[in-house]
């Protein structure tokens, strides 16, 4: 075993193996108690965490997910161990904050982040597949603006302590949650949101974060790089994730091709497509989907911390203002949020090009 290759994975085979590991872990967490197709969903977990700290009051979506804290700490440890932790920021924090917020709202209208779109597709959900198609369409559209010179201002290097805020907060919350996890859940339900055992979720979260940091796992990033540079190595991770989840679902009997009976989903296909198209388009412009923003933020990127802050705020608003969808369908507020997100990212893309 060549440890250097494993720590600095570049080949498609290693990136695919890492993606398959993440996919298997995500299905495993569902088997252990997480909601259907929600073994790994950065947006759902952020909504749950926002509820756990009192930013919204929906009991069934309140739980301080150890996975999300584990992702932050796992990515931080991996970045530190490989000397990739560098505090940097100030490039475009406001755009990241607003972009993160709209990306989260798009995810909530679809009901899941791009990784959950993979899991929903692997479970046989037609709406999940339609959302995934929308995501890819959005990413491909964004690459036209990248080719035409779109870029955000480069961040500046900062004192290292500045990058420690998010990992330190995650560490404190995880330490608190390990003792009193149930106290973070609302009281009306036995334990807030459905969840796998604490230790399994925390351990999986650490692995998600560490592997995600080393492999730069990102669904939108993989499609972007494949489209721009004809380099398919980054896409090997998400593709292997999808295949591993699909095979495990087939093995456990959890694969059911369906439109109307997909657990937790709605059947509004045009809005599923448009919501994730907006997410894919925006994620390319602000350098990452919700999971990738968490990993970047944990590696010292303060612009990504701004995106995470925007996502947490949007997670609370999505519940409080009825923006998030439910199995009953997409709400009017959700549709408006998606359309406003489209406007925000289109203006950003058109404005920030060299020569325009």
């Amino acid at each position: 075993m060549n440890w250097r290759k494993a720590l600095y994975p570049e080949s498609a085979a290693l990136l695919a193996a890492a993606g398959a590991l993440l996919g298997a872990l995500a299905v495993g967490l569902t088997v252990l108690g997480n909601p259907a197709s929600t073994g790994l969903c950065a947006s759902c977990f952020l909504v749950n965490a926002a509820g756990a700290v009192g930013l919204h009051a929906r009991e069934s979506q309140s739980y301080l997910r150890p996975e999300i804290l584990g992702i932050v700490l796992g990515a931080f440890f991996a970045a530190t161990a490989t000397r990739e932790f560098r505090a940097r920021g100030g490039g475009s924090p406001v755009r990241h904050f607003l972009g993160g917020a709209f990306i989260l709202l798009g995810c909530e209208v679809f009901i899941g982040c791009p990784i959950k779109a993979l899991l929903r597709t692997a479970g046989g959900g037609a709406a999940g597949g339609v959302g995934l198609a929308g995501l890819i369409a959005g990413v491909l559209f964004a690459t036209a603006y990248l080719r035409d010179g779109f870029s955000l201002p480069a961040p500046s290097m900062l004192p290292e302590g500045a990058g420690l805020v998010l990992p330190a907060a995650a560490f404190l919350l995880l330490a608190l949650a390990s003792g009193v996890a149930e106290s973070f859940a609302a009281s009306g339900f036995p334990a807030g949101a459905r969840h796998a055992p604490f230790a399994a979720s925390a351990a999986a979260g650490l692995l998600f974060g560490a592997v995600g940091q080393r492999t730069r796992f990102c669904v939108t990033g993989g499609v972007r790089t494949a489209a721009l540079a004809r380099d398919f190595r980054e896409a090997a991770g998400p593709l292997a994730f999808l295949l591993a989840a699909l095979l495990l679902n087939l093995f456990t009997g959890d694969f059911t091709p369906t439109l109307s009976l997909e657990p937790g989903a709605h059947t509004d296909l045009p809005w599923a497509f448009l919501a994730l198209a907006m997410v894919g388009f925006g994620a390319v412009l602000v350098n990452g989907c919700p999971f990738r923003q968490l990993v970047r933020a944990s590696s010292g990127d303060l612009d990504a911390v701004a995106a995470v802050a925007g996502m947490v705020l949007a997670a609370a608003l999505s519940v409080r203002w009825g923006i998030g969808s439910s199995p009953a369908g997409v709400t009017a507020a959700g549709k408006i949020a998606v359309l406003l997100g489209c406007v925000f990212f289109l203006v950003l893309a058109a404005w920030k090009r060299k020569g325009e």
Binding site: P35, A36, T38, C41, S43, C44, V47, N48, G51, H56, A57, R58, S60, Q61, S62, Y63, E108, I111, G112, A144, Y145, R147, D148, G188, F189, P190, A191, G192, A193, R194, S260, L261, E262, P263, G264, A265, H266, T267, V319, R320, W321, G322, G324, S326, P327, A328, T331, A332, A333, K335, I336, L339, L340, C342, V343, L346, V347, A350, R353, E356
Partner: protein, 137 residues
């Protein structure tokens, strides 16, 4: 030279932005912006789950069910769940119970075989199933 580049790409962004704004205004004018959903509010807040209304719908559903009218029962169960979504959450103290869960699965199985063919009933049963088994929490 790329077809989508330069001023064309700017124009496309302007057109799509204008369409999005028009769409948003259209949704705001015609859509129901009174949500959030019933289970968001804290007990006692305006918009909290309507337990009395939900109980009335459940009573009507049971009456229809005992009379053999599955389609009407499903419609009332759906109406009840929209008033109080916790009715179909197995972890909730007001859950309709494992008996209801088993009957719902039987109805869906019957619908797949074409025994219960009403499209409205199919939609109601599917909604209750999706609500019971998934979501972000």
């Amino acid at each position: 030279m790329e077809i989508l580049s330069g001023k064309r790409l700017t124009l496309l962004a302007v057109i799509l932005s204008a369409a999005s704004i028009a769409g948003g205004i259209g949704v705001a004018a015609t859509g129901d912006l009174r949500l959030p959903a019933a289970d968001v509010a804290r007990p006692g807040d305006a918009g909290a789950p309507d337990r009395a209304g939900a109980s009335a719908e459940v009573a009507l559903a049971k009456e229809a069910e005992s009379g053999g009218d599955v389609a009407a029962a499903l419609a009332h169960y759906r109406a009840a769940t929209l008033l109080d979504p916790r009715l179909v959450d197995p972890r909730s103290p007001v859950f309709l119970g494992p008996g209801f869960e088993a009957r719902l699965k039987d109805w869906i199985a019957a619908q797949k075989k074409g025994v219960v063919g009403d499209p409205r009933a199919r939609s109601d049963a599917a909604y209750l199933f999706r609500r019971m088994y998934g979501g972000c929490g």
